[in-house]
Subunit: 421 residues, 2 copies
């Protein structure tokens, strides 16, 4: 049991913040048992950790992160997508069959997630089974909750970084069996890279594994116009990109699809019907000139939308930074698309980066009773005068202007986590 | 005389970086006397400050910053422009007739500029003469180079924050006389807020003062579509927004205009002809849903384009952050405007944030011989492996992923400056 005191702020619905000034967040067995303005009588003897005027918020959830690309963030961004993949991404990913290298670099990833208050993440590793297990070990030790995916790719990939279809499926099944019950907060997720690099046989085989072991799925969908065209030429028998995943049995409510920048209304309806989550990655979409995801259309159609950094195409690890970029992107979408789709508000972006992503981990990302207690303590003294600011304004200012220095505590499932070594 | 050793990188032209690995930057009397791979014989006895594997780059130049709005960064950004001005901006600016308040808050501004390596800035203060002089004092003491403007506004402004035309001109002349020769690196700049809040008489009077004392001019031009329409309705006798400033005598090569998001080709030609600098502020343009400045069209037309944070509509003080946002904005402009206008490269954005803005201060923003020596030392150890990265890549990574912690020294006109108190 733990009691934290401070200015507690979180979202239950996207439209508004719940604010409890100078209040108590009570945790029992890793779950939130309540938020109280006045502590109930029966808790009067429990020790309270008092964070004074700090903010207490749910931990951040990153729904799309390529762990081996962390090494490359902020590099090669004058290149177009294909040369960027060839020059930076694939050669770097190929290195992760070296276990020592994987251990060292993945520890840097865990440190960066920790620093930036990402308490839950959905990650791509590489095609290497052992490298993937190392990433899972590192995150488990760090106490960070995660779905980690061994990447599958058996076509249209460089010679030095491609799999044989049968071996890919075999290794994936082995890896699922080795890891699905191994860790408390770290789980395997099935990870076909994207349609262009995965044969029909591979995708169908992965869907079977997902069904057989009840394993979640992640992939990319409609990031870039060139990619969409390519996919169309590879599969003229399907009437959309999303329909291909659906036809392979990969589109359901265990699935997260990154990007979804260029989807038809029909595809959006399909995602909504299937209960698939979309991981919106505005930072990466800017960097690779992909365009802007029309978030409002997805929300209006009932699609769940969460946020992803998409490291390494995205150059920032902080989901709080992605929140402000999602708002900015929605403003540009408003501006350039007929000024009809309403911009995101701060509470909506915050909801996307906490509770919407948290649903993928079940009850995570809010302080409602029964939710797993992932929390951050934010000291915003460095960000300017607090006296005349509401708690909402102070949170907004942290989202726009704060950085990892303002995050002074990180809890995952009720447990204080310290910097990974 | 000073000699700094490190990996020296800067731009002479926008198209490419000049790179001197492990080299010497020699300063005499505040000016760069040369960059050397091997130190000339006659300098062999001069002490060298060796920064090892760090980068040495020119200081950053911020061409548009509202000092009294620093207090509000990251706030109110769910609001539209007009409510934002009414709720946050004007009430805050009105406070700066309190000299104690001005001193305290402007010291925060100087600290933020210092932290983020902004060695030169062009700032708006408020309509208050004494508050403006306090800002100039604070910046002078901090050793930061600046043009500081007392704001003029005599129409369409709130009752509590408006001037009488004659008094505005009188006070402005007094202030010019009191400050134009007072400081070495801090100078007054004439600052009509923008056309909607300045009568013709005021603008013409300010143009006369600018001519009489050879004082530079700053204002806003075509930030927002609603503003452009408003200006058109106020001055139907002119055929464009830029033509109004020109007709008032305010558009010349001593002038910087912030934003220039919505200008016709004719206006762009006029800016080019007059030698007026444009201050591109992508961060603010996103936040206030203003649109994206088509930078390439300005560059192709021969307009000088530099960068501004536009604090407080912009929420970030680091010009390095504005560089990456300018690149991102150019990518979105490319995407949404027919894919014809080439995106900015990293060297172009760096040039805009150093040498292009530096020209407003005469020879500033480069390490060419004879340039004033404004320099930053960047330690990028925290940003990842250096071993396999070129100096250009390391600078790019700092621009995208770095922050003030990576800036370990700041020099202005050859002088090391320390954190303002």
């Amino acid at each position: 049991m733990k009691i934290l005191k401070g200015n507690i702020i979180y979202t239950v619905v996207p439209e508004k913040f719940e604010v409890y000034e100078n209040s108590y967040l009570v945790e029992i067995d890793g779950k939130v048992s309540g938020v109280y303005k006045h502590l109930p009588e029966e808790l009067k003897d429990v020790e309270v950790e008092d964070f004074g005027d700090s903010l207490i918020i749910p931990g951040f959830v990153d729904m799309h992160f390529h762990a081996p690309q962390f090494q490359n963030i902020g590099l090669g961004l004058d290149e177009e997508l294909l040369p960027w993949l060839e020059k930076y991404t694939f050669p770097e990913e190929a290195k992760y069959d070296n276990e020592e290298y994987a251990k060292r670099l993945y520890t840097n990833v865990a440190k960066a997630l920790w620093k930036n208050g990402t308490t839950r993440a959905v990650l791509f590793s590489t095609i290497h089974k052992n490298g993937t297990k190392i990433l899972m070990d590192v995150l488990d030790k760090a106490g960070i909750g995660a779905y980690v995916g061994k990447v599958n790719m058996d076509r249209n990939s460089p010679d030095f970084y491609i799999e044989d279809t049968d071996e890919s499926l075999e290794k994936t099944e082995e890896w699922i069996l080795e890891t699905k019950d191994k860790y408390e907060l770290v789980k395997p997720i099935i990870t076909p890279r994207f349609v262009p690099t995965c044969s029909e046989k591979l995708m169908k085989g992965l869907a079977e594994l997902s069904d057989k072991y009840n394993i979640k799925v992640q992939s990319h969908l409609s990031e870039n116009e060139g990619e969409v065209e390519w996919v169309k030429s590879l599969h003229p028998e399907f009437n959309s990109y999303a329909a291909i995943y659906d036809g392979m049995g990969l589109l359901n409510d265990r699935t997260v699809m990154a990007h979804t920048v260029h989807n038809t209304d029909e595809e959006i309806k399909l995602l909504s019907k299937r209960g698939t989550i979309s991981a919106h990655c505005p930072n990466a979409n800017y960097n690779l000139s992909s365009g802007i995801m029309p978030v409002r259309r997805f929300l209006d159609a009932g699609v769940k939308v969460a946020l992803g950094t998409d490291v390494g195409a995205g150059h920032q690890v902080g989901i709080y930074k992605v929140m402000s970029q999602a708002i900015e992107a929605s403003k540009m979408n408003w501006f350039y698309n007929g000024k009809s789709e309403k911009c995101l508000t701060t509470s909506e972006a915050f909801y996307m980066g906490t509770k919407a992503g948290g649903e993928f981990f079940e009850k995570v990302g809010s302080f409602e009773k029964g939710y797993t207690m992932d929390a951050l303590v934010i000291n915003d003294e460095s960000l300017g005068d607090k006296d005349f600011r509401s708690i909402e304004e102070r949170l907004q200012r942290f989202i726009y202007c704060g950085d990892d220095r303002n995050i002074i505590r990180r809890y995952v499932a009720g447990k204080l986590i310290s910097e990974p070594k």
